[in-house]
């Protein structure tokens, strides 16, 4: 019996590890889920490739608390993200908005795809052109060779 309890505790451990401090979590599971969803959209500015949900930096902890306070106060996702965005700018958003400065970032996959398609089309057209009729010069050489072998 105790073995089963230990096994269960072992398997359940990651659930407790989701947010560093259980005291941080909101009592309402729906609001906690929303807070986590928002937190995953926000970059931790200290360890810059982590979201504030994943980071254990002091600033990330403060921002997590701030997000939970605003969610608890009834704000929706857009309002909370706008609040943080107004303070830290585009950099804090893990999904940067499409602006003149970020358009290249967003467009690169499509540009690469268009480039690839363009290359394929060009090569195809050339392949067709190569199979077309011989030039008079080539015809003359071919005739010469034929005569040579004959």
């Amino acid at each position: 019996m105790t073995r089963w309890i230990f096994l269960w505790l072992l398997l359940a451990l990651p659930a407790f590890a989701a947010v560093g401090d259980p005291n941080e979590r909101l009592a309402d599971p729906a609001k906690e889920a929303l807070a986590r969803e928002i937190g995953r959209e926000l970059r931790c500015l200290v360890c810059q490739n982590q979201s504030i949900e994943d980071s254990d930096a002091q600033l990330a902890r403060d921002l997590r608390r701030l997000v939970r306070e605003r969610v608890a106060a009834g704000e929706d996702q857009a309002a909370v993200i706008t609040f943080v965005h107004q303070r830290y700018g585009d950099f804090v958003l893990l999904r940067p908005p499409v602006t003149a400065a970020t358009i290249l970032l967003w467009a690169t996959p499509f540009l690469a795809l268009a480039g690839g398609i363009a290359v394929i089309m060009l090569r195809r057209r050339r392949a067709v052109a190569e199979a077309a009729a011989l030039s008079p010069e080539e015809a003359r050489r071919l005739a010469e060779l034929d005569r040579g072998t004959a």
Binding site: Q58, L59, L66, R87, Y88, G89, F91, V92
Partner: protein
Amino acid sequence: MSDAASPKRPRRWMLYAPLGLAAAAGVGFYAMLQGLQDGSYNPRGVPSVLLGKPAPDFSLPALEGVELPALAAADLRGPLPGPVLVNFWASWCAPCIIEHPQLMRLSREGIAVYGINYKDRVAEAGAFLRRHGNPYRRLGRDEPGRTAIDWGVYGVPETYLLDRQGMIRWRWAGPITPDTLENELRPLLRRFA
């Protein structure tokens, strides 16, 4: 044999294309490295959204045990007698020790330097100022770090320059070294004097 080269000629540019691409990337990386070296390019830098705007609203208590007035947004609203520096610092922050002599120098020259003590213990913050000297005219204590978030601070030290109208003109994340002082801050202080 010479004729055999002719159908290949259109494809030759394809050979040079990767070479050209690599060369362009090389030029780009060289520019990035140059920028990293002279500080004009910082991939980890978070640009401040407050540039050209007044300081956000806040009101902070004074630091107990230090005879300095507290700091609030009202102290940073124009018109001001001269440009003002707002410096976020903490006694536990090693780069703050590196930057301190520069702040002391500015303060001796009569520049208004205001301090915001970030997430610090009262006794240790006081001891820091007694040991290294006090450059601050006003000092607010931001223990919860909420005012720092309102300013978009992401680490200490961080310094903001406000012009006479109370508009934020410059933000420096990291310590103000003697080099930063001479090459970045001095020209701005002259411009906004």
